[in-house]
């Protein structure tokens, strides 16, 4: 059986064949003799050669989160020959919420002229305060939030012109 995983945009094929006392596993051009034992749900003890490892594996849909040797890895299980999932575009605009939270204060009004660097909105989430500032001088065309609103990351808060 061949399984495919994608990590950081690179696809890896893993071939697993049952063998005498465990599995023969091939990753790329490397073949390993592996014994595996599921100790409890999500905890797999592996013997690879003389190395013994404990991996924690969690599945979230096609995602596989693996914790091994002090590091966490996120893999995506993909169909053989299938296409990569497109990642959502990153929201980087400075007038969008950089984190989910709630609006503590709106410091400008619609139509108001603002200077570059002026604080427009104060967001708060989990004890952290984040100021949304004007990237350039301009005029506030529209306010998309009010004090007390709960906003999601990436949500547009203010439109400047």
């Amino acid at each position: 059986m061949e399984l495919h995983y994608e990590v950081n945009g690179i696809r890896h094929a893993v071939r697993v064949e049952p063998s005498e006392d465990g599995y023969q596993v091939t990753v790329g051009d490397r073949t390993y003799v592996v014994r595996a034992r599921q100790r409890e749900e999500g905890v797999i003890d592996l013997t690879i050669g003389t190395r013994r490892l404990r991996a924690h594996v969690v599945a979230e849909g096609p995602r596989r989160l693996v914790a091994l040797d002090a590091t966490t890895y996120a893999l995506e299980r993909v169909r053989p020959g299938g296409r990569r999932r497109r990642l959502g575009a990153e929201h980087t605009g400075r007038l969008e919420a950089q984190m989910p939270g709630h609006v503590v204060a709106v410091l400008v009004e619609e139509g108001q002229e603002v200077e570059a660097g002026q604080t427009l909105v104060v967001l708060e989430a989990m004890k952290m305060e984040l100021r949304v500032v004007a990237p350039v001088a301009g005029r506030v065309r529209a306010l998309r939030c009010r004090p007390g609103d709960v906003v999601e990351r990436g949500e547009r808060l203010v439109e400047l012109e």
Binding site: M1, L3, Y5, V7, H12, V14, V16, P18, Y23, V25, V27, G28, Y32, V34, A36, Q38, G42, V43, I44, L46, I48, L53, A55, H56, V57, V58, A59, E60, G61, P62, R64, L65, V66, A67, L68, D69, A70, T71, T72, Y73, L75, R77, V78, R79, G82, Q98, M99, P100, V104, A105, L107, T119, V122, A125, M126, K127, M128, E129, L130, P147
Partner: protein, 503 residues
């Protein structure tokens, strides 16, 4: 001692308080918002009651409801934890007015220390050194003059702020009027108090705080210091005790100042006097936190005193069981705060469901966790997942143990600062104890997690988990509803059509 107590908090500190009460035979009542219906603290308490929707203003900050629940359930005392209403004088008054005991200082001490300007004045009168500054209520001109005398840069701070909130650095006179104006506006909006004051900006200070404990009989002791200089966004992420900076003489003088501060304000219960220490080893009163601190465990491990139990004993009217000279520091303790946040993106909070939490365990390793496998981290509350605390015979020993423990802390499903902390505790400057409050900015600006090649072992583990069907299905809450969705034996959904375990 009390027979029943309301825990007016959530997360790890609620769990910590409940455990102390369990040992003492005090029954506990938990409260929870709709977002916390399944939280650990609700499960551990003897009773748990809903108090409102997720936003704190509609639940954990509703002092009226908390008092109502405490009275309805026959509680004798209320422990506020930290955050939320812990430093709210009106809440402390409401609790006492209802005939309940507030496990904390008198409302008057909270109020005094909550007004940073009044606190500075009081400390100066009590002979405790304060950071040079200007607390006047004058016009912009007076501030400009004071700033000129102090020398730039200066800090504009909100009288109602604290813990780094509502604070801005002003580098030159030209920027001061606008900064004052903006700070006042924001302070009014954020704290309901527009008053601001000036402080000289200390270059690369250390943050060293002293734990104090006072009973109702006029005894005050300090339990030595905590070094809390490793911060991000003005909030602590690593704390330790003893401070690598202090020698016996400075420790003694600062301890005496901390006790004097507590006496000056008529303090009772546990509190913390925060100091800044400058490069010349001069120390200045910064503020007093009139509550239990997040980082209280490092003191507990080094001094050998259970601070939560001590709080309860003092609140019940018991005298302190030890004098200053009976207290001493042994070994070294370090705490790392495990946050759901992304150190590579400005430490912005992260949310999500903890698919798996496995805490490190071993001699002298302590984890105070409020979040376990299956819990949701929402944006309503502080993103603190747990505190990892270790003790060692020496600082080196504690550092090695912390590195060991961080390497074994497994948290899957949310972005955390664990990988970041691993590098901090191994950083040469940190190992040498050279920590100042700009440590993170100096040494970890633009930090990115190591982008390693995925080892074959990881792919093998994933493949065998799929082969054996052995990965835990994180996105399935196993809700106990009446549909088939709760059946863990139905294969969890995968994007493509293969069946886990099939060949």
């Amino acid at each position: 001692m009390f027979s029943k107590l309301l825990v007016a908090n959530r997360g790890e500190i609620a769990v910590r308080i409940i455990r102390a009460c369990q040992e003492l035979g005090i029954r506990t009542v938990a409260v929870y918002s709709e977002a916390d219906a399944h939280a650990l603290h609700t499960l551990l308490a003897d009773e748990a009651y809903p108090i409102g929707p997720p936003p704190p203003t509609e639940s954990y900050l509703r002092g009226d409801r908390l008092v109502e629940v405490a009275l309805a359930t026959g509680c004798e005392a209320v422990h506020p934890g930290y955050g939320f209403l812990a430093e709210n004088a009106a809440f402390a008054e409401a609790v006492e007015a209802a005939g309940l005991t507030f496990v904390g200082p008198p409302a008057e001490a909270i109020r005094l220390m909550g007004d940073k300007v009044a606190a500075r004045a009081l400390m100066a009168r009590a002979g405790v050194p304060v950071v040079p500054g200007y607390d006047g209520e004058g016009e912009v001109e007076a501030f400009l003059e004071a700033a000129r005398a102090l020398g730039y840069p200066v800090l504009v701070k909100a009288a109602g702020g604290g813990g780094g909130r509502g604070m801005r650095v002003v580098a030159s006179e030209a920027d001061l009027p606008a900064a004052l104006e903006a700070a006042r506006r924001e302070a009014r909006s954020a704290f309901g108090n527009g008053r601001v004051y000036l402080e000289k900006f200390l270059e690369r200070p250390r943050h060293v705080e002293f734990q104090v404990l006072a009973d109702r009989h006029g005894h005050v002791v300090h339990l030595f210091e905590r070094e809390c200089s490793v911060q991000r966004r003005h909030q602590k992420i690593i704390e330790e005790s003893p401070s690598p900076l202090l020698d016996e003489e400075l420790r003694r003088r600062m301890g005496e100042a901390a006790v004097a501060a507590a006496h000056a304000v008529g303090y009772v219960n546990a509190g913390t006097v925060e100091f800044l220490v400058d490069a010349e080893r001069r120390f200045y009163f910064l503020e007093m936190n009139t509550r239990l601190q997040v980082e209280h465990p490092v003191t507990e491990l080094v001094v050998g005193v259970d601070l939560v139990k001590a709080q309860l004993a003092v609140a019940a009217g018991e005298p302190l069981p030890f004098a200053q000279e009976e207290l001493s520091q042994r070994g070294h303790a370090i705490e790392c705060r495990i946050y759901a946040e992304d150190p590579a993106r400005g430490f912005l909070p992260a949310t999500g469901r903890v698919a798996r939490a496995v805490e490190p365990a071993g001699p002298w390793v302590r984890v105070d966790a409020g979040i376990t496998t299956g819990d949701e981290i929402t944006y309503y509350y502080d993103p603190l997942i747990a505190k990892l605390i270790v003790w060692g015979e020496s600082r080196d020993d504690a550092l090695r143990r912390m590195a060991w423990a961080l390497d074994r802390y497994i948290l899957l499903g949310v972005t955390t600062n664990i990988a970041f902390l691993r590098e901090v505790v191994r950083h040469p400057a940190f190992r040498r104890g050279e920590v100042t409050t700009d440590f993170v900015a100096r040494h970890f600006a633009g930090w990115q997690p190591p982008q390693e090649e995925v080892p074959d072992e990881v792919l093998i583990a994933a493949a065998l988990a799929d082969q054996l069907g052995g990965a835990s299905p994180a996105d399935d809450h196993h809700p106990a509803n009446s549909t088939g969705a709760g059946d863990p034996f139905s294969p969890w959904a995968v994007a493509d059509s293969f069946r886990p375990g099939g060949r």
